[in-house]
């Protein structure tokens, strides 16, 4: 249970949220002045807002803000990742020449997703959780359909809206039942009522309420929108709408479990088994489907499904600080590699016309550094040592085996770990398909030498690659994160 924060400190505790909100307003206002608009300042304002947010996140007070938000060490870590991921996407977009001067709308959408993710990651109440998720969802629809006049983008946006709207409605419906049955909408209060026994109606209502998070984590069977949306939307929009929301959703799920099941920090066996089975199903479905794809962004989409499922497995293992450290490390690895890979794909997609596997041929010759960086990110996503993705996967597997094999543990976790190993081996093939298309396939014809890579994009790629390699060697990372997460 988190101590309440002094009302006077409330605004200081919400510094990062305030910074992003201010940045959002500034971007929208700057977009109204044609002079400012022409100078394409919007992404830079966004980067500045995220940087200020990072500064404010460092020293703010912590505690519960009413029954709505909780600012603690978990929030702090999630904020770092969310702000870092948002800044990276904005920076990569800043160097991009965009037709039609839509920088303002684009940057505003990315910032709004970041703001929504911050709220979600701090939510301690079904209402604030729903608000945060909606704040992520609405600008995501805009980003997905950003290429006006492109039929695929329109389809992506439409699919996103329909799926997103339906899942929001389901979640709200479930949440209202939870409130009606338990009389509480805050996680701690709900948990206290549930501790006296879980009956079918409330369990059903909780399942409905969980749909929102499942949707954001792209868990099977709520993942079906992801591949089409990823394929239709520009790669940079996908970067904004994939990694950061996953951080938020994972943090929210951890917080909900921590507050609702406070005593042991280990989910009851029935819940753990359910989550582990969902995770195993998700990983296997994602891996097997990914190998059949012929578009790099669709593969990345299914990779997101698989990684979301792996995160769920990590969360199912418990919410002690050392278990959450594994989740946090996994998120760090995922944000760095996923953002990096999508920035690379965005560069290649623009120059090759599409992210179709066949269209990527010759990328190695045209842009050797971008193609090499893409390989680093893909191998990290695949879990090849010594990259961050390997260590993250190692942490989750160890956690799951610990939970599954210990006396009195949940055997389902160990089986899910085995499924994760199988899925890793299969999914590696899918990542290799992209590597093969971009690096090994011969170039078709001679193309003009590409323009210089804009320096902001290069900075993002170097930063993501450095994080991917450095985190992969940071064995003590789990301990450091666990210490910072300890109450």
């Amino acid at each position: 249970v988190i101590a309440a924060i002094e009302p006077a400190d409330g605004l200081r505790a919400l510094g990062p949220e305030a910074a992003l909100a201010a940045g959002l307003c500034a971007v929208l206002l700057s977009d109204l002045r044609p002079a400012l608009r022409a100078r394409r300042l919007a992404p830079w304002i966004g980067v500045a807002a995220a940087a200020v947010g990072l500064l404010l996140a460092a020293g703010g007070p912590s505690g519960a803000i009413g029954a709505m938000l909780a600012v603690d060490s978990l929030t702090a870590l999630a904020r770092l990742l969310i702000l870092g991921g948002t800044a990276a996407v904005l920076l990569a977009g800043a160097g991009e020449r965009r037709d039609g001067g839509d920088h303002g709308a684009w940057a505003a959408s990315v910032l709004a997703i970041g703001l929504g993710a911050l709220v979600t990651a701090a939510a301690s109440n079904l209402v604030s959780l729903w608000l945060g998720l909606e704040l992520i969802a609405l600008p995501s629809y805009v980003l997905a359909a950003f290429r006006r006049g492109d039929r695929r983008a329109a389809e992506a946006g439409m699919k996103f809206v329909l799926f997103g709207g339906a899942s929001s409605a389901l979640m709200l419906y479930g949440a209202s039942h939870v409130y009606g049955i338990t009389g509480h909408s805050d996680f701690a209060g709900i948990g206290a009522v549930l501790a006296q026994g879980v009956e079918l109606p409330v369990a059903a209502a909780l399942c409905l309420a969980g749909v929102g998070i499942a949707y954001k984590l792209t868990l099977v069977p709520f993942h079906l929108y992801a591949p089409d949306v990823y394929q239709g939307a520009p790669a940079l929009s996908v970067a904004a709408a994939s990694a950061v929301p996953k951080v938020a959703a994972a943090a929210a799920l951890v917080r909900a479990l921590q507050l609702a099941v406070p005593a042991s920090f280990v989910p009851p066996p029935a819940l753990a088994t359910t989550l582990a089975s969902l995770a195993a199903l998700g990983m296997l479905v994602a891996a097997f489907t990914a190998v059949a794809q012929r578009d790099a962004k669709r593969i990345v989409a299914f990779s997101g499904v698989g990684h979301g499922a792996t995160l769920l497995l990590a969360i199912a293992c418990g919410t002690r600080s050392d278990a959450v450290a594994v989740v946090a490390f996994y998120l760090l690895a995922y944000v760095a590699a996923n953002t990096g890979a999508l920035v690379c794909l965005s560069v290649l997609e623009r120059e090759h016309g599409s992210a179709d596997l066949g269209a990527l041929a010759g990328a190695m010759r045209r842009r050797p550094w971008v193609a090499t960086a893409l390989c680093v990110f893909l191998f990290s996503l695949a879990g090849v040592p010594p990259l961050a993705g390997f260590l993250a996967k190692w942490g989750v597997l160890q956690q799951a085996l610990d939970g599954g094999l210990a006396a009195g543990g949940t055997p389902g976790l160990a089986w899910a770990a085995l499924a994760a190993l199988l899925a890793t081996a299969i999914a590696a093939w899918a990542y290799l398909l992209i590597v093969r298309a971009a690096v090994l396939a011969p170039a078709v014809g001679e193309a003009a030498p590409p323009p210089r890579l804009p320096w902001p994009a290069a900075v993002v790629l170097v930063a993501c690659a450095a994080a991917t390699v450095a985190a992969g060697l940071w064995l003590d990372g789990f301990d450091v994160l666990a210490r910072s997460l300890a109450p």
Binding site: P385, T424, A428, R436
Partner: protein
């Protein structure tokens, strides 16, 4: 302070970075040569130390803490086995560099990849920490994937991916084993008893300490050591009883771990029926990469068995030893039989690799001093002889642009030097006394015949392969180099030039030296092998 072993890992990495950063197209090959000769020198020096003073201890140990919590260290050190492998990888990489001296497609990337590969392979050969070993073992895949996939032949992408997926599947199992081993060991470390024979063989200072741990006698005078939790392979081997007692999903951990490591290693060796990636990879790989593949990468699998599978799970190794020996024997015969029918020179040499590497499995499985040492000698000499054959196949291919045996013939007339070298390579492969190949095969068969049942039977079954390998290799030489000149346009083929001689001669010299004077190598290997055998046999005499 960086010592010879860690420098054989770090220097190639550094040189690889230099290759990529600098602009000259001519410098990278010199850097690759320097890096490989450096690790050859480091390996020879270590080998000399073990030849001069045989022992089962680990020398040139360097250790830096990587993670306190996991007990992980960046720890390197070698016994005779590791030293031999390090020297081999340095020599073969130097040869491969000379073979690719005139590589004109992306020379900077090419030599950087070769250096990266060398660093990873060396890392695996000298690692004392299981995590370091695993990271290097896995990382080998990436440069190899690029070397085959970018610089290979027409079907290179298929071959590269097949290679990658086969070996990755094995590696995933190794990862599971790693985590289970960590889970099985008690967090505070434990005190384990060590048989006096093992202490005597593996201690570097006459029994006062063992692998950096102080040896104390317990109440009955049996030596014990306090083993901390961690990933040091030497310390893990001391705790084999813990792995015997632990279970994983109802299976003893020792059984699961042994089979997982076995699978991971057998893919690389390769043993039948896991060998099918090898002919594809060889045929599609450029000559220099074939040399690296046959000379160095296949040895990783054998080395993994010697360093991990047998020491960590000695009881399972005894239980499954006959099966592994049978796999080895089957590979010896099958590889030779299939090689007999090959029309493509590279496929022929690839299948002969399957056959010759089977001897390594049989030797180790027989658990005899001669067999275990012979298996390692075979690994070294096969590295030299198969590299030589691949170099020579490359020489032919550069001139006639195909590798079909029926499209060659009578090459001895225009290319006498080439034909001599080919004959030497074939005879070494066939195990002619006086050349390196004989020593390994003889020791393995000796070990097999003196081992417990069923190893004498397996050795007896393997003997005909000597005839078979003489048949397919010498028949190949006959059809390629001798007889009438089958194609008139071959009459004007130039003989081996200086670069080609430079790439072949080190291997020929190595084969001759090991053939007539194998003593130092066998002495150096024997220490490590004896220590391994004492450990494995000590658990169930």
């Amino acid at each position: 302070m960086i010592g010879p072993l860690s420098s054989s890992l770090l220097l190639p990495l550094l040189l690889a970075a230099v290759c990529v950063v600098q602009r000259s197209l001519g410098l990278p090959r010199w850097l690759a040569l320097a890096g490989s000769l450096w690790s050859f020198g480091a390996g020879l020096m270590a080998l000399a130390s073990f030849a001069a003073r045989p022992g089962g201890d680990f020398r040139f140990v360097e250790s830096w803490t990587w993670s306190e919590r996991f007990g992980a260290h960046f720890a390197v050190g070698v016994d005779g086995i590791g030293a031999a492998m390090l020297a081999l990888s340095g020599l073969v990489t130097a040869v491969a560099t000379i073979v690719a001296w005139r590589e004109d497609r992306h020379p900077r990337a090419y030599h950087a990849l070769v250096l990266l590969l060398l660093a990873c392979v060396n890392g695996a050969f000298v690692a004392l920490d299981l995590l370091v070993f695993y990271v290097c073992w896995e990382a080998v895949l990436l440069p190899m994937l690029a070397l085959i996939g970018v610089f290979g032949g027409e079907q290179r992408r298929y071959a590269a991916l097949k290679f990658f997926v086969y070996t990755l599947a094995g590696s995933v199992l190794m990862l599971a084993t790693l985590i289970l081993l960590w889970r099985a060991t008690p967090p505070a470390g434990q005190r384990v008893a060590v048989p006096p024979a093992v202490v005597a063989l593996q201690s570097a200072d006459g029994g006062a300490s063992l692998h950096g741990l102080a040896v104390r006698g317990d109440a009955n005078g049996i030596p014990t050591v306090d083993v901390p939790r961690g990933f040091d392979v030497r310390h893990l081997a001391l705790q084999w009883q813990t792995f015997d007692a632990a279970t994983f999903l109802g299976v003893p951990l020792a059984t699961f771990g042994f089979l997982a490591l076995l699978l991971a290693c057998l893919v690389k060796v390769p043993a039948i029926p896991l060998h099918t990636w090898l002919p594809h990879a060889h045929v599609q790989a450029p000559t220099a990469v074939s040399v690296l593949l046959a000379g160095v990468l296949l040895k990783l699998g054998v080395y993994g068995l010697y360093r991990l599978a047998w020491p960590l799970f000695p009881t399972a190794a005894q239980d499954f030893g006959p099966a592994v020996g049978a796999l080895g024997t089957a590979g010896i015969l099958f590889g030779a039989w299939v090689a007999l029918g090959q029309q493509d020179l590279k496929r022929l040499v690839a299948y002969s690799s399957v056959s010759h590497m089977g001897f390594c499995l049989l030797g180790l499985a027989s658990l005899t001093a001669a067999g275990a040492a012979g298996g390692m000698v075979q690994a070294v000499t096969h590295g030299l002889s198969s590299s030589l054959l691949f170099v020579l196949v490359g020489v032919v291919y550069d001139r006639v642009h195909h590798r079909r045996i029926d499209g060659l013939g009578g090459l001895a007339r225009p290319m006498p030097r080439f034909s001599w070298l080919l004959l030497i390579g074939a005879l070494a492969g066939a195990g002619l006394p006086g050349l390196g190949g004989f020593v390994g095969e003889f020791l393995v068969l000796l070990g097999g015949f003196t081992g417990k049942a069923p190893f004498p039977w397996q050795a007896a079954l393997a003997v005909p392969s000597v005839v078979l390998s003489a048949a397919y290799l010498l028949w190949m030489v006959k059809r390629t180099a001798y007889g009438p000149l089958r194609h008139a346009e071959h009459a004007a083929l130039p003989d081996c030039d200086a670069r080609e001689l430079w790439s072949a001669l080190p291997l020929v010299i190595g084969l001759v030296v090991l053939g007539v004077w194998p003593g130092p190598l066998v002495d150096a290997l024997r220490g490590g092998c004896d220590a391994l055998l004492a450990h494995v046999q000590g658990v169930r005499p």
